[in-house]
Amino acid sequence: MSGRLFWFTAALLLGLAVHLAYILFVPRQQMEARMAQFSALAGVNKLAVLEPRVLDRILPEADPALAYAACVFDLSPGPVVVKATIPAGYWLVSVYAPNGDSFYSLNSRQADVKTLDLVIRNQASAAGDQSGSAPQAGADSQVTVKSPSKQGLVLLRARVRTPALGPRIRADLAASACSPAT
């Protein structure tokens, strides 16, 4: 009986360990795999506009009502700037850490500008900066975002009201750029 109890307990403890390993490590590994797929499209610190077929492969649950562009950033050499041209209609920028946290986001209504410089700095080197707020309305603006990690992902999304507008909205997103800050 004590032998059976031993093996039963061992199976439960192993099950607990596997459960925790899956919950704690698989999400990060999947996020990093996703970032590797995005960076394979255009490289690091560069913006890639995602055609529907590519999007289907990398983000299968992507909303067909949106056009997507992505920039995998690496802050090792210094800050990165996303120069965004905001199209008319709904637009959203989200910044993700490699663990999947969306640590900054801003939509077109909150931004209320036509162009936006989103400067991403490493948290350790950005002490004292104003971060995470919306820009001042009316003018072209700059926002500084403190990243908790050196790597991450910027995702730009814009609404595509009807399929026929897709190419035009993707062209609008392509007017944005992602590069090391000079």
Binding site: L14, V18, P27, D56, L59, P60, L92, D101, S105, P163
Partner: protein, 191 residues
């Protein structure tokens, strides 16, 4: 010899328990991490810096990016309003009030993926494309055969679900997801 068999069996059973329980809780959720309202389920901590590990696993392990609910509130449904799993051989009506955000979209998912829009067959509708009822309710048919009015194509097979996304939600929706009335998912005919 007998000890090695016991050890191998214990490892197999332990790994199976661990993977099954992690997958089950990350997919189906539980009260502490996911909120259920009728057939719809939402994960309130998605995308926030307080996001719990099960919510992370729910989105990221399935290849999805979790969105901060201040920007996008997502609801998933895998069953109809009577609790029956959504069946690809049936037709459904999704009807209700959906004005909880600047705009919204509804998609049919097949094994977790949304098919891109295709001419003559759409798996996703934008609120701007919706023709509303006189009482401002949205009514969407989900069926294999094209239907008049707002129509979403039903995939031929697979694990079918519905995904409702509210973009730029009104304060009540983003601060307390799950308080607003959500559409009914009503099964009609089955083949």
């Amino acid at each position: 010899m007998f000890g090695r068999i016991k050890l191998a069996l214990t490892c197999l059973i332990g790994m199976a328990i661990g993977l099954w329980s992690a997958h089950d809780l990350a997919n189906g959720g539980f009260d502490l991490v996911a909120r259920t309202q009728g057939p719809w389920q939402t994960w309130p901590s998605a995308g926030l810096n307080t996001m719990d590990p099960y919510t992370k696993a729910h989105f990221l392990a399935a290849g999805r990016l979790p969105d901060n609910r201040r920007e996008i509130v997502e609801y998933e449904a895998w069953s109809d309003s009577d609790g029956r799993p959504i069946d690809a051989t049936c037709t459904y009506t999704v009807q209700g009030r959906l004005d909880w955000s600047r705009w919204w979209s509804i998609s049919v998912t097949q094994n977790g993926a949304v098919e891109p829009r295709k001419a003559g067959r759409t798996y996703s509708l934008d609120s701007g494309e919706i023709v509303y009822q006189p009482d401002d309710l949205a009514r969407v048919s989900v069926s294999a055969q094209a239907a008049s009015g707002n129509w979403l194509a039903m995939p031929a097979s697979g694990n079918v679900g519905l995904l409702l996304r509210f973009y730029d939600p009104v304060p009540g929706t983003r601060e307390r997801p799950g308080i607003q009335s959500l559409p009914q998912v009503v099964r009609q005919d089955c083949q």
